[in-house]
Each structure stands twice: as C-alpha cells, then as structure tokens.
Point group: C2
Chain length 114, copies 2
DNA sequence: GCGATATATTCACTGACATGTATATACACC
DNA sequence: GGTGTATATACATGTCAGTGAATATATCGC
C-alpha cells in the first residue's frame, strides 16, 4: 500500500491503534478491544501501519506482538520543524506578521449578513 | 467538511499548497501554479485548509491572499510530543527497550538468525 | 453601465479505502 | 494426528474525497 506518515495517521482507527501502543507492545487481541472495529479490520490497519513503518511485529507463540517504531514520528517531527517558526513566538520582527497576517479564521461566522 | 490536522495533511496536493505558503501569504493564482491541479481544485483545497484552521484569508482587490496559521501546527506538535520519548534517545533505561523492542521493520528481511 | 480578471461553487464521475462476513493460515496443546 | 485459539487474507459493498468542466460571484478599470 505504501503510505506516507500523514496518510497513515489520517484514519481515526489507525490513530486509536497507535495510541493503544503508546505504552508498549501489545498482541492483536488487545488492540482489537480498543480499536472499535473487528479483528479483520485491525489486522488490515496493522498491515498498513507496518508498511508505513509505524509498527514492528514479533511472534510470541500463536500471538503477534506489535510495537511502535520511532522513524515515522521522527519524520513527522522533521516536517513540522520546517514550520516551527510559525508559532515559536518570533513575533518580534514584522516578517512574522507578514506571514501570520491577521488570523481571521472565523470566516464562517464572518458576514453578519449579505 | 471539518477535518482534523492529520486528514487535512493527508492529501499530497494540500501538503504542496501548505509548502507553497511557507514563505508568506500568496494569492490563489500563484498557488495554482505550484499545486498541480486546476484552479477549482485549489479553491476547494483552500476551503478545506481554511476550515481546518491551517490558513487565513484576506481580500486584496480582486484577489484573496492566503497565509498559514500556527494553531494546527501547534496541535500536531502537541500530539507528537506524546510520542517523543520513542526517539529522543532515552535508551539508557530498559523501559525504552521494552517499547522500542528490536526494530525489525524489515520484517521481510527479519531475523538473520536467532 | 460594460468587459476583463480572480476566485468560488455546482455537477458528474471515478477511484480508493474502510468495513464486515467468511475463509484461510499458523501455532499450541493434547 | 485433531481441536481450539490467534491472526491474516479474500471477497463484496458502500461511502467519500479528489478531480475537471462549466458556471457563478466578486472586484477592478474604463
């Protein structure tokens, strides 16, 4: 399937699975309990997470233990780093103001009427 | 549409748009040149990015200038922070080893022997 | 007013993906 | 061997998101 980290985390079920692994490795069965989808679905999501580098597997008897791997998180962090100046208060110079530029953001509530 | 930051960035075209705005605000036309999709597509992606908080808009004559907003980036950073211990070399204690757990990742090439 | 330019929206299509059910594979234990 | 449990895969289905073409809206200059 070959997904990049953003696509891999775009699915809420996959994010739940990742969070279920935050505190260490777990067998599929335990993940199923927290994922909110059937075992077959979890298995497919785990495959995607594995292919995108988010998890590792190791056999343990008839079970398979999944665990998080650091690489894709590092990758996300590196990407974010390129935008860090957006929020790491560098508002002292007006270059920042040029980029931040009046947060309207409530554009939906804008236009009291027309 | 209501997208969370991960879904918003899952689309490659939207990531290209975000990158096009890294160095400051731009009108839609310039973004179209870099996005690789037609103007109507860019407009729709900009709407999604706006609804998810990634960009702000301000009118400038007959054009509209889009710019990045910091909030969703902060949000992503906060999420990532919960996993930072995965890669911020805290391998000095074996608690980390429990979680990192032998990066197999090349599960295909796994286990030269054991 | 009119025409031209910039951007947004509607419509129809298509492809991808998440899901469940059912089935297959792998391993453990007897 | 056989039976039971744990996990993976195949198949069919429905939904949704990204796309382009065409159209609508807004703003400028005259």
């Amino acid at each position: 399937m070959q997904m990049n980290p953003f696509e891999a985390l775009a699915d809420p079920t996959r994010r739940r699975i990742v969070e279920a692994l935050r505190c260490g490795e777990r067998p599929v069965g335990e993940i199923v309990d927290r994922a909110g989808v059937r075992q077959s679905g979890v298995s497919r999501h785990l495959r995607i997470l594995h292919e995108s580098g988010f998890v590792s597997v190791r056999p343990d008897g008839q079970r398979r233990l999944y665990a998080l791997r650091p690489e894709p998180f590092r990758e996300l962090d590196a990407w974010l780093a390129g935008y860090r100046r957006l929020w790491e208060a560098r508002l002292d110079r007006f270059g920042a103001a040029l980029e931040e530029r009046r947060g309207d953001r409530g554009a939906t509530k804008k236009e009291p009427r027309k």
